[in-house]
């Protein structure tokens, strides 16, 4: 009993748990970057480009529309509030028309649902978007 005190033991136990929590939080934060890398693999590193704007495709369902809650918001009256949905599976992107008034065109052809390829041009209302591989992925 002379070599330790119960209070000291308790303090050490709490301190060890604190440090462990901190290490696990740092480890979780570091895993964040590998999460992005994996998503790049899933999404084939694609992005949508429109006259100087670049839209990152960061999740597997991306809503394009005029509404404030849309993932890609196109503030244009020719675009419906909920116009089109982009989805990805197995590295392949697909676009679906959500019943918009002006329709969705891929390379000039009106579609309801279509698989997309690199450099396809998507026309939504009066806006034109190009699906392309992200610049740093192309440079590889």
């Amino acid at each position: 009993m002379e070599y330790y005190s119960p209070l000291m033991l308790c303090v050490i136990t709490v301190a060890a748990l604190d440090i462990c929590a901190l290490v696990l939080i740092i480890a979780a934060y570091r895993e964040k970057s590998s999460g992005r890398k994996r998503w790049d693999r899933i999404s084939s590193s694609m992005e949508l480009v429109e006259q100087g704007y670049t839209y990152q495709l960061g999740c597997d369902e991306i809503l394009i529309g005029r509404h404030a809650s849309a993932d890609i918001r196109l503030s244009d009256m020719s675009v419906s509030r909920y116009h089109a949905m982009l989805t990805v599976a197995d590295g392949v992107w697909t676009i679906s028309d959500l019943g918009s008034k002006s329709g969705v065109y891929v390379n000039g052809v009106r579609i309801k649902k279509k698989t997309l390829h690199e450099n396809d041009t998507i026309t939504i209302g009066s806006r034109q978007l190009v699906l392309r591989k992200r610049r740093n992925a192309r440079d590889e």
Partner: protein, 460 residues
């Protein structure tokens, strides 16, 4: 393992945390047989090492939830083995193993949203069957189904099914139908009746403590439906919904059985041997424990019914101190914060993670605040800390859901997993290479002119 340094450091510090707890038990604990301490140490450190080794074979994207899970489960094993006297609690240890196994099952079942969304009808059937089991075998007599040597609480598994029902129907918000001039989504209507039915069933079973948990899960699913683009909810709708919930609560309180109303309005210090028995003992134990506790195995609360489940927070406070008990709660909160570090990439995974977080948070709040007499006392467990096989298995499965949200599978069902894209796609050559050149983009951002918008899923 994508980051070996993170893995090694995480392993070492989890072992350090458990080792210091075991040293505390050895030098500061109350035991008659030293052998018991060595048994606990061997069981805890052994499980740590075996799980760390098994993790090397887990094909996941992130491992932070697994590390948090093993840290909390073995902390719980040490807590449970020390209540009253230091003696290895083999029963809780077995349920911990069941929780770890359930987490693997949960991960594999829930990771592919395209597959599980096709099983939606089976989830609804499962809810119906489980409700029938609860109705037939538990009812208003007991919340438990007792077999020869063990008993299970079926309502714990209902939480999993409700979370899955919320998550699998989230993408159906596009499919609106006009009925009598109202635009409705059938999945939302079905989900509302499922949630209402479960709450009524729990009311009938007198398991009132679990109703807030089910309501929290449904509320998380409901809120994410509001966020979903096609669900055009206005503020007026939100206020009406909040008002309806408040009204339902008041009506429920009015028609509640006498024992419930007595528990809501009881002054525990006027009735320390009756309705206020557990809470008054729990508060005294917390006060006696102070910041650093009496020491493992030296608590007096072990003589009180449900000291290791319903008032486990007070038991931990008494033996390990308020500081350590709060740290344990913080560990569970860090486990729940995993979606903040790595935001889910689909509506399904986001809703599932939100449902799990809502369920765990509600359970912890009910248990801790109930023990401290801040809210009426309920028989709800703290996930992973409280004893109980059904609770541990269900919590383990829900932790598996969190892991699935962190490491989702985006392949179509039935397709072989491959790192390359489909043949014919012009994007195939850079699919693997692009991983090396990931940019710093978030879920969505405009890289020029306009500022980046916050992704919906990051808000989970």
């Amino acid at each position: 393992m994508s980051n070996p340094f993170s893995y090694i450091f995480s392993c070492l510090f989890v072992l350090l945390a458990h080792s210091t707890m075991l040293f505390n038990v050895y030098f500061n604990g109350s035991y008659t047989d030293e052998h018991q301490v060595f048994v606990i140490a061997a069981a805890v450190i052994g499980l740590d090492i075996v799980y760390f080794f098994l993790m090397l074979f887990f094909r996941q994207h992130t491992y932070n939830v697994d590390f948090m899970l093993i840290l909390i489960l073995n902390m719980s094993n040490i807590f449970q083995s020390c209540f009253g006297a230091v003696e290895f609690d083999h029963r809780h240890y077995i349920t911990s193993l069941a929780a770890l196994l359930a987490s693997r099952v949960g991960y594999h079942v829930c990771r592919n949203h395209k597959w599980i969304q096709k099983q939606k009808v089976f989830i609804w059937i499962g809810i119906g069957l489980l409700a029938a089991v609860i109705f037939a075998f538990t009812g208003s007599r007991s919340m438990w189904i007792t077999f020869e040597k063990f008993s299970i609480q079926p309502s714990e598994f209902m939480k999993i099914l409700l979370i899955l029902a919320c998550a699998t129907s989230i993408t159906e918000q596009q499919n609106k139908h006009t009925v009598l001039g109202f635009s409705i989504v059938w999945e939302n209507v079905i989900l509302f009746f499922i949630a209402a039915g479960i709450c009524l069933l729990q009311w009938w079973c007198r398991d009132l403590g679990s109703i807030p948990t089910f309501m929290a899960i449904y509320a998380a699913g409901f809120l994410l439906r509001i966020c979903y683009p096609k669900a055009k909810f206005s503020r007026k709708t939100l206020f009406i919904a909040a008002g309806a919930v408040l009204l339902a609560g008041l009506v429920a309180l009015h028609f509640a059985p006498d024992y419930v109303r007595a528990r809501v309005f009881v002054n525990i210090w006027d009735d320390t041997e009756g309705d206020g028995f557990q809470q008054s003992r729990a508060l005294i134990a917390i006060a006696e424990g102070g910041w650093f506790g009496k020491g493992p195995g030296k608590g007096a609360l072990s003589g009180v019914f449900a000291h290791d489940s319903d008032i486990v927070f007070a038991s931990v406070c008494e033996e390990w101190g308020l500081l350590f008990a709060l740290m344990s709660v913080l560990m569970i909160l860090i486990l729940l914060s995993a979606p903040l570090f790595n935001p889910p990439r689909s509506y399904y995974h986001g809703t599932m993670a939100a449902g799990v977080c809502a369920a765990f948070t509600a359970q912890m709040a009910l248990n801790i605040f109930g023990s401290c007499n801040l809210i009426p006392f309920t028989g709800v467990t703290i996930p992973f800390i409280s004893t109980g096989g059904s609770s541990m298995a269900a919590s383990g499965f829900m932790a598996g859901m969190l892991i699935a949200a962190q490491s989702p599978e985006f392949h179509k069902p039935g397709k072989k997993k491959t790192t390359k894209s489909k043949p014919g796609s012009s994007t195939k050559t850079a699919a693997g290479r692009s991983a090396k050149t990931a940019s710093k983009s978030g879920t969505r951002s405009k890289t020029k002119k306009k500022p980046a918008s916050s992704g919906r899923r990051a808000a989970v």
